[in-house]
């Protein structure tokens, strides 16, 4: 028994707020997004029975109350600060499959936090203003274990990610040009022009990352809302039927002990177990995937996941990208909307939205006749996550 084909994605919307409104208090922006996604689905607020989200998006009680949802029969969030929207969507599918609810709204957000301090804009490479040097528990606390790694002076998520990225790049001899070819492709997917020379000329902040390798902090806040419904109910709605064919969350919790464990696992995206689980549930393999929306806070994450999801062999992610196989018309179209590195550290906010648009045939950078899409959550802390959607 599994949740395969039990739930369908029936509505999506992304609400954005810029300028002074970018700090719009939650749950206001979530309500705007949820109502727009319900309209996309042809459903009403009164149809909603459940809410799911990654950690820290908003309080579901306040959301339901202000949104005017009469009764909630399921509410869940992922643990950890990462994992992304894919895992939250997995929770929604589980709720529907398990009979807790027929209609569930999944919310994910990116909260604008423009960086100050004169050291540059990138939110992932640098710690938030005023944050203790101990951010991410890797730099001297809090706590006794953190003190042992204090001499590294890791200040940011980006500094920790750089150690993992370099373990991978060095192990397989993958060059900055390989990674750069992906960044150039991602920019092209987003409709932006960047040359490989420009990429290579960008000053490094934390090897191997320049500003172009990490999802930027921007002055726009986002909430993405995804409405899922029992597949029987979904058949009566207007949108093309997009079912959740497989979902997985978890992974090896080596992140509780950073860089410990088998070298090959440390030098990977950590997604191999999740990949096996999601493919197993969906009865699919890499060759079935038409479009892959891969979590990409940092550019090398895409190469690593191409390997760990079986699109190429381990260590071949660089040449796979450089050979032009990760594009529309190639082996698999990857991050056809550009992804987080062209947009914002958005926890995959836009990845699910893009997957659904591709399967409906309404994406800007459309994969011809796309029928199966993979969406992944961030490498980083457990639980990692992935969802496979299929046009029925």
């Amino acid at each position: 028994m599994s949740l395969k084909d039990e739930a369908a994605v029936v509505g999506v919307a992304v609400a954005r707020a810029e300028g002074a409104d970018a700090q719009l208090a939650m749950p206001d922006l979530a309500i705007v997004a949820a109502n727009a996604a319900l309209a996309d689905a042809g459903l009403e607020r009164a149809d909603v029975q459940g809410f799911c989200s990654p950690s820290g998006v908003c309080d579901h009680g306040a959301l339901a109350s202000q949104m005017g949802v009469p009764e909630v029969s399921f509410s869940a969030t992922l643990t950890s600060g990462s994992g992304g929207g894919a895992g939250a969507l997995a929770l929604a599918a589980a709720a529907i499959s398990g009979g807790f609810a027929d209609v569930v709204v999944t919310l994910s957000r990116y909260e604008s936090a423009p960086r100050s301090g004169g050291t540059g804009p990138n939110a992932l490479l640098r710690p938030p203003p005023g944050a203790a040097a101990s951010a991410y528990g890797l730099s001297g606390g809090p706590g006794p274990d953190g003190a042992l790694s204090a001499p590294a002076a890791l200040r940011s998520y980006g500094a920790a990610a750089a150690l993992t990225a370099n373990a991978y790049l060095h192990r397989y001899g993958i060059s900055r040009e390989h990674v750069g070819r992906w960044v150039v492709q991602a920019r092209a997917n987003a409709g932006e022009k960047l040359s490989l020379d420009d990429y290579l000329a960008a000053p490094l902040v934390i090897d191997p990352f320049s500003e172009l390798d990490a999802a930027p902090g921007i002055a726009t806040s986002y909430v993405a809302a995804v409405v899922t419904a029992n597949v029987e109910r979904a058949r009566d709605l207007d949108q093309p039927l997009v079912v959740i064919a497989g979902a997985a969350t978890g992974g090896s919790p080596i992140n509780g002990a950073p860089w410990q464990g088998p070298a090959e696992l440390v030098a990977s995206s950590g997604h191999r177990d999740v990949a096996a689980d999601v493919y197993g549930m969906a009865g699919a393999s890499a060759s079935d995937i038409d479009v892959a929306l891969l979590a990409d806070d940092f550019s090398p994450w895409v190469l690593m996941q191409l390997e760990d999801y079986g699109f190429c062999g381990v260590g071949e992610g660089g040449t796979f990208v450089a050979d032009g196989r990760a594009v529309v018309g190639g082996t698999v179209a990857v991050n056809t909307h550009g992804g987080n590195i062209t947009d914002a550290f958005a926890r995959g906010v836009t990845h699910i939205d893009e997957a659904v648009r591709q399967l409906r045939g309404t994406a800007t950078n459309q994969v011809p006749d796309a029928s199966t899409a993979l969406v992944t959550g961030d490498p980083g802390t457990m639980p990692l996550s992935a969802v496979i959607m299929r046009r029925a």
Partner: protein, 144 residues
């Protein structure tokens, strides 16, 4: 600014030691590199944690290591990451070190007294100590 060239901007003065990490800091104050080892099954573990990940035991012993190792991975911080690091900023090299004598345990620290661009995975290194106070010495690594 630090004891060594390319020393990271570390401000730790109190390691907040508990029963599982005190042994590391006691040895460090004497200039010895020690690692947590499960008293029950012998598994080395870093960070020390409160439980052995292999057998669940909470009993630990501290084993003194030779103080040599190999760079597993590293990075170079090229720009100050926060305003507090800006004054007198020097590039530094966070690194994860496979310690000789403790298979399966990696130290998270930095490589110092070496041009940052010369540090790479596979480099042989040895521990050096920055004596912050009588009670606190911090371990860094430098090429052998």
């Amino acid at each position: 600014m630090g004891t060594f060239e390319h020393q990271p901007p570390v401000t730790l003065t109190d390691p907040a030691a508990d029963d599982w990490t005190q042994g590391f800091w006691d040895a460090a104050a004497e200039g010895r590199l020690a690692v947590t080892r499960c008293s029950s099954c012998g598994t080395f573990r870093l960070p020390p944690g409160r439980f052995c990940r292999a057998c669940g035991s909470q009993e630990v012993t501290y084993e003194t290591l030779p103080g040599t190792g190999t760079v597993f991975t590293c990075t170079v911080v090229r720009q100050p990451l926060s305003a507090q690091d800006a004054a007198g900023f020097e590039e530094y090299v966070p690194a994860v070190i496979d310690a000789d004598g403790a298979p399966g345990a990696r130290f998270v620290s930095a490589v110092v007294d070496c041009a940052p661009d010369d540090v790479a995975p596979g480099m042989k290194v040895r521990v050096v100590w920055d004596r912050v106070s009588d009670a606190l010495s911090l371990p860094y690594w430098t090429p052998e």
